[in-house]
Symmetry: C2
Subunit: 297 residues, 2 copies
DNA sequence: AGTCGCTGTAACGGAAAGTTACATCAGAGA
DNA sequence: TCTCTGATGTAACTTTCCGTTACAGCGACT
C-alpha cells in the first residue's frame, strides 16, 4: 500500500485555517504564531500544485479545491480524534505539565499562593512551581514560563498583560504614635524600606517633597515583611491596593494620606511564545479572572 | 473545535508498522531507517498511555487497542490519500527530483550513458546528472546521490550493492602484430595503462609473473580510451567483461589469454540513507535489472 | 487620512526527527 | 548445542524543518 500523503503538519495547519477561514484564529487554536501556518500552507499548496486559499488582504477564502480538501482533512482528523479519545478518554484539557512562575515574594505570599488552590482544582494536570527568589526571571528553556512583575514596563523582548492597576501609598498601624501629620512628617519617622528606597522616593516626589538626603529606615528584602512590621506598629511601610487590602479592610493598617499615591500595575510577563503554551494560557486566563473577582469583591 | 491529536508523524509511522506488523517493512515503505519508527511509536504509546504493540523478539503484533487505533488511522489516511490524488492526479511515482551519479568515465561511456534513455523514459520526473570526473564522490548534501565503483570494497561508511561481477583481462586487436605468445610476452609489448599500473600488476600477479620493475606503456586517464587505442591496434589494454563486451563480440578485440583473469565487481555505493531516497531506489532497481538483462543477453 | 487588523516575508534559533552503529534476543538449521 | 539469521531496541550524533521574532504591506473601517 503505497500512499502519497502530504506533510501532515501542514495538512493540520491547513485544516484549522480552512475551518476558521483565518490564519490568526487557526494559529490561536493550534497555539502557534501565524507565520508558521502561513508557510506550512504555502508549502502544501506548492506540493499539491494548486491553490487552496484565495488571499484577501483581510482574511482568506477557500478555493473549490481547498473546500474539497478541507472536507476530507476534517473528516480524517475527526476520525483520529475520536479514536484517540477512546484510548485516552480522561486526558484533561491541559495535560501533565509543569508551570513555573517567577513572582515577587510579597505578591506571591499575599495574593497568589492563597489562591493557587483554586487554580490547581481547575487544572489538576498542571504542577505549579512558584519561584519567589528575587533574581530576575530567566525565561529560557528550563527557566520560568511566566513572570508576574510590578511596575510599568516596558520589558524588552517580553510581552506584558496587565493583571491589575494599583496605587502605591504609605500604610501604618492605626495605633502608631505619633501618627504622621503630613507627608513631610514621615521624614522624621521610621520608614520601612524595601531593598531599595526608590519606591518611597517616588512617592515623596508625588507628594511634592524633594529629598536631598538618603532615606533612613529599616530595609526588608520582602515588601510583605515590611508590611507585617507596619501592622505590628513598628513604622510606616509602603503598601499598595492589593498587598495591603486585607489589612486595610481589617483596620490592621490605615492609610494616613489617602490623597497621595503613585500608580503602577502588576503584569503577567513572558516571551510572546510562552503565552501560547496551554498551561500558561490557562493560568493567564485564570489569573485575570481571579484578579477581577478580587478587585470587585 | 478543540481537537486532541497525536503527533501525526508518529501516527503515520504507527499505521504503516501496524499494517505490516513489522517495523522493518514499514521503514522500507516510508523510506526511513527502522529506529526512527521504533522511537516514534514508543513515544506515541507513551502519549496515549497504552501499548499498541506486543513486542516479540522477532516481529510485532497488535494489541486490541492497537488494532482499533490502526483501523481509524488507516481510514483517515485513506481519506487524505484519496483527496490528495484528486488534486494532483498525475503525480509520477517518483516526483520532480535530481539524481546525481558519480561514475567512472569508462563505465559511464560504455555502459551507463547508452542505457540512460531507458531509465529516463521509465521515470520522467527524475533528472539524471552523470558526474564522471575522477574525483572521489562526495556524498554530502549537494554532492552525489549514488556512486558506481569498480573494485571489491569495502567502502567505509558506504553501503554497496553489487551490480555485476566481472573478469579483468588483457584485450587487443586481432590483427595486432606480433600477437603476444604468453603472458610474459606482454612485458615486451606496448601496454595501455590507466592512471595507475595497479590493475595490470594485479593481473600479472594472477598470471604468476612477478614484476621487479615498473610497467612501461602509455597512460590514459580513462580506461575507455585505452580500449579505443587497443581497438586501433596500438597495443594491449586491460578490459573487462562489461567494458569490452561489444568489442569482443564484434571481433574488434580479442582476449589472448582467456584462462587468466582477475575478478572484481561493479557496485552501487552510497551512504545507507541514500538508498532510501525514491530516486535512488528507482535507479538502483532499474540498474540491477538492466545489468541482469545485459549480462544475460 | 490615519489606524487597525490581518496576511506575507525573511532570518534566525532550537526542538524533533532521522542517521549510524551497536546491542540483544529468539528461532532456524547444521 | 552452537552458530547464523532476521528482527527490534538503545544511544549518541547530525541535520532538517518547524516555529519564533520582527517587520512590511495592504485594505477596510473609522
Amino acid at each position: 500500500m503505497m500512499r502519497r500523503l502530504p506533510n501532515l503538519t501542514a495538512l493540520r495547519a491547513f485544516e484549522a485555517a480552512a475551518r476558521h477561514e483565518s490564519l490568526t484564529r487557526a494559529a490561536e487554536e493550534l497555539n502557534v504564531a501565524h507565520p508558521a501556518l502561513s508557510r506550512q500552507i504555502r508549502e502544501l499548496e506548492g506540493w499539491l500544485g494548486c491553490a487552496l486559499f484565495n488571499r484577501h488582504n483581510r482574511g482568506l477564502s477557500l478555493t473549490d479545491a481547498g473546500r474539497a480538501y478541507r472536507d476530507a482533512a476534517s473528516q480524517a482528523f475527526d476520525l483520529i480524534d475520536a479514536a484517540t479519545a477512546l484510548l485516552r478518554p480522561d486526558a484533561p484539557a491541559v495535560g501533565e505539565q509543569r508551570l513555573t512562575l517567577s513572582v515577587e515574594p510579597s505578591f506571591a505570599q499575599r495574593w497568589l499562593v492563597p489562591r493557587l488552590g483554586a487554580f490547581r482544582a481547575l487544572h489538576p494536570g498542571v504542577t505549579v512551581i512558584v519561584d519567589a527568589t528575587r533574581e530576575a526571571a530567566n525565561f529560557r528553556r528550563g527557566g520560568a514560563d511566566l513572570g508576574i512583575r510590578y511596575g510599568s514596563g516596558p520589558w524588552p523582548g517580553l510581552e506584558a498583560r496587565k493583571l491589575a492597576d494599583v496605587e502605591n501609598f504609605p500604610v501604618c498601624a492605626p495605633g502608631l504614635t505619633p501618627l504622621p501629620g503630613d507627608p513631610a512628617g514621615l521624614l522624621e519617622m521610621d520608614l520601612l524600606l524595601e531593598e531599595t528606597d526608590l519606591p518611597w522616593r517616588a512617592w515623596f516626589a508625588a507628594a511634592g517633597i524633594t529629598l536631598n538626603r538618603p532615606l533612613h529606615g529599616t530595609r526588608f528584602f520582602d515588601a510583605s515583611h515590611a508590611m507585617d512590621v507596619a501592622v505590628a506598629g513598628q513604622g510606616v511601610a509602603l503598601g499598595d491596593t492589593i498587598l495591603s487590602r486585607d489589612d486595610l479592610a481589617a483596620s490592621r493598617l490605615i492609610r494616613p494620606f489617602p490623597q497621595v499615591a503613585i500608580y503602577q500595575s502588576y503584569n503577567l510577563v513572558a516571551p510572546p511564545a510562552h503565552f501560547r503554551r496551554p498551561a500558561v494560557k490557562a493560568f493567564t486566563e485564570w489569573a485575570l479572572a481571579a484578579m477581577a473577582a478580587f478587585l470587585a469583591g
